[in-house]
């Protein structure tokens, strides 16, 4: 549905996206993950026909984004980051205008149906200017859905919503994504984890990782880090722990705990526990430090990846 090949965009001397290549299948929800300024919005703007790329090609729904821009735009629904609404129009008249722009017959009927879909039918004749942030976001989504597009591109769809609205928006996106291609950007990792079939991590205009959220996590968590807390001298403990086969990166922390790491699949925790007890320490705590997606993300997008885990 979406095929991107070597896409590059320069703003003057600054390269916003650099040689991006990825694709998205029909019925797939692909998450675009990255810090602010990573090039997410630029990529989305290029794919929706808002701006041309400096280099590279992309096709959306089988049409070239530069050569057949109008065909692409007919098939794409786009929710920009700043929701584009005419605040002095009513919800219904706004959607009717969008439906007319897309040459939908019986535009008013369609506008009303779309309002029902985003649960705003009861506010059809209210002015958008009086809408809350969550309602505006839903209006933006309605606008993107009005022509029942094959491809949906959503730029930070849950930003600025309260927790209940976030859950609601995610459910709507999941529902839509069942039979359409959805490309959404976010910088909330748990969100990508919850709704995306596949995640692309982008930083400084480059894709740094691409996989399912589960694989991404397990691939990057090649080793397990454990925190150990005892009553007693930590330096001494650290020395003991490092003698146990399979432990590495043993570190005595200033808070009286010791951290160590072992490779996934070689669980040395029982041996460590035994060694600690045998050395006469009182074992208070032994707890794995889960490397969350947040940490993976930070690690992948850090400027200088030193190879050391961000603990």
């Amino acid at each position: 549905m979406i095929q991107v090949n070597g896409l590059t965009k320069d703003y003057g001397a600054r390269r916003a996206i650099d040689d991006l290549t990825f694709d998205a299948e029909q019925g797939e929800i692909v998450g675009f993950l990255g810090p602010n300024g990573a090039g997410k919005t630029t990529t989305m703007r290029i794919l929706t026909g808002y701006m041309p790329p400096t280099d590279g090609t992309a096709t959306v729904a089988g049409y070239d984004i530069v050569e057949e821009s109008l065909e692409v735009r007919k098939r794409v629904g786009y929710l920009p980051e700043t929701v584009p609404l005419y605040t002095d129009m009513t919800a219904l008249s706004y959607l009717k205008f969008m439906a007319d722009l897309r040459k939908i017959p019986e535009s008013e009927q369609r506008a009303y149906e779309t309002l029902e879909r985003v649960n705003l039918a009861d506010r059809a004749n209210s002015y958008i200017g009086n809408f809350s942030k969550g309602m505006r976001q839903r209006m933006g989504l309605a606008q993107a859905l009005i022509h029942r597009p094959e491809v949906l591109i959503l730029d930070e769809p849950t930003i600025g919503l309260d927790p209940a609205q976030v859950v609601e928006m995610r459910n709507v996106i999941k529902e839509i994504g069942k039979d359409r291609t959805v490309l959404l950007s976010t910088h909330i990792l748990s969100e990508a984890q919850q709704i995306c079939d596949r995640v692309l991590i982008i930083n400084k205009g480059k894709i740094v990782a691409e996989d399912t959220p589960e694989n991404l996590q397990s691939r990057l968590v090649g080793s397990q880090r454990v925190v150990l807390r005892v009553r007693g001298e930590t330096d001494e403990l650290a020395a003991k722990v490092s003698k146990v086969k399979g432990t590495r990166d043993v570190e005595a922390k200033s808070d009286g705990s010791v951290e160590f790491e072992f490779s996934a699949g070689q669980d040395v925790r029982p041996q460590v526990a035994k060694a600690v007890i045998q050395a006469g320490f009182d074992l208070l705590e032994m707890r794995p430090i889960g490397l969350s997606l947040e940490e993976i993300f930070l690690e992948l997008t850090r400027e200088n990846v030193t190879g050391k885990k961000a603990a």
Partner: protein, 259 residues
């Protein structure tokens, strides 16, 4: 075509919820109304001394004169505000071409000005009266009625001038994101085209003066259409301005895409 109409219709509807449009309409109609009363009164007093019958030309001149000041306010936000609020992104990712967007914006504004102009038709109607066959609904003020040819050419001139002002205004609005900047840039251009050109013509001698004289909008309206003459050169002049404005607007929108 349908896209242009969709944009134009929204733009036109939008004027009726914008206070600026009402202020402009009120100002134009009030000024014209007062002026009409004064002219008719003065003509009536001078009628015994053989003064010519009142016609529509001075009113239409005033209309265009007021457009110099008011059109910038009408067009200033047309595209600049879309860029500021982000709705331009909506329009530029909708399946419409850039020139359709600009043309629609222009047409919407033109229809608004034409609506105001339609109201001013009340003045020739009052002068001519309404006589249906043998029934006189409104007795004519001027007998046997005002100069028809002058009336048509004058109104044609107003329409062309308004269309040019709006095209240039929409074009300039596409360049700016700030509507105040768009207002003053547009106003400066209109001021130069309407008032300053004759000054340049007087300052410079020879063929340079002719160039400035051709650019003088006042010469193409006040001394042409508004005297009852419809000449091809004047029509071409206004059409060139319209084309220039719409071209500028379309180019500015395209440039925005590349930035």
């Amino acid at each position: 075509m349908r896209n242009i109409w969709t944009i134009a219709k929204r733009e036109y509807d939008h004027y009726f919820i914008s206070p600026i449009a009402y202020v402009v309409a009120f100002m134009i109609l009030l000024t014209l109304g007062i002026y009409f009363t004064v002219i008719v009164g003065a003509t009536a007093q001078q009628a015994f001394s053989g003064a010519p019958a009142p016609d529509i030309a001075p009113l239409n001149w005033l209309f265009v004169f007021l457009l110099v000041f008011t059109t910038p306010a009408i067009t200033m936000r047309s595209l600049s505000d879309e860029a500021r609020t982000g709705t331009l992104e909506l329009l530029l990712t909708a399946p419409i071409r850039d020139f359709e967007l600009v043309l629609g914006k222009w047409l919407g504004g033109l229809l608004f000005i034409l609506s105001i102009l339609a109201i001013t038709l009340i003045f020739p109607i009052i002068l001519n009266g309404i006589v249906l066959g043998s029934v006189t609904i409104l007795p004519p003020l001027v007998s046997p009625g005002i100069d028809r040819q002058l009336m048509f050419s004058s109104y044609l001139g107003v329409i062309l001038a308004a269309a040019s002002f709006l095209a240039l205004g929409v074009g300039i609005s596409a360049i700016f994101t700030n509507q105040i900047a768009a207002f003053f840039a547009t106003f400066a251009l209109f001021f130069i085209l309407w008032f300053m050109m004759s000054l340049f013509t007087n300052l410079i001698q020879g063929s340079g003066a002719e160039v400035f004289n051709y650019l003088n909008m006042s010469a193409h309206f006040t001394d042409a259409f508004n005297t009852g003459s419809v000449k091809l050169t004047d029509v071409i002049y206004f059409f060139s301005l319209i084309a220039l404005g719409l071209f500028t607007g379309t180019t500015a929108v395209e440039v925005r895409r590349w930035r």
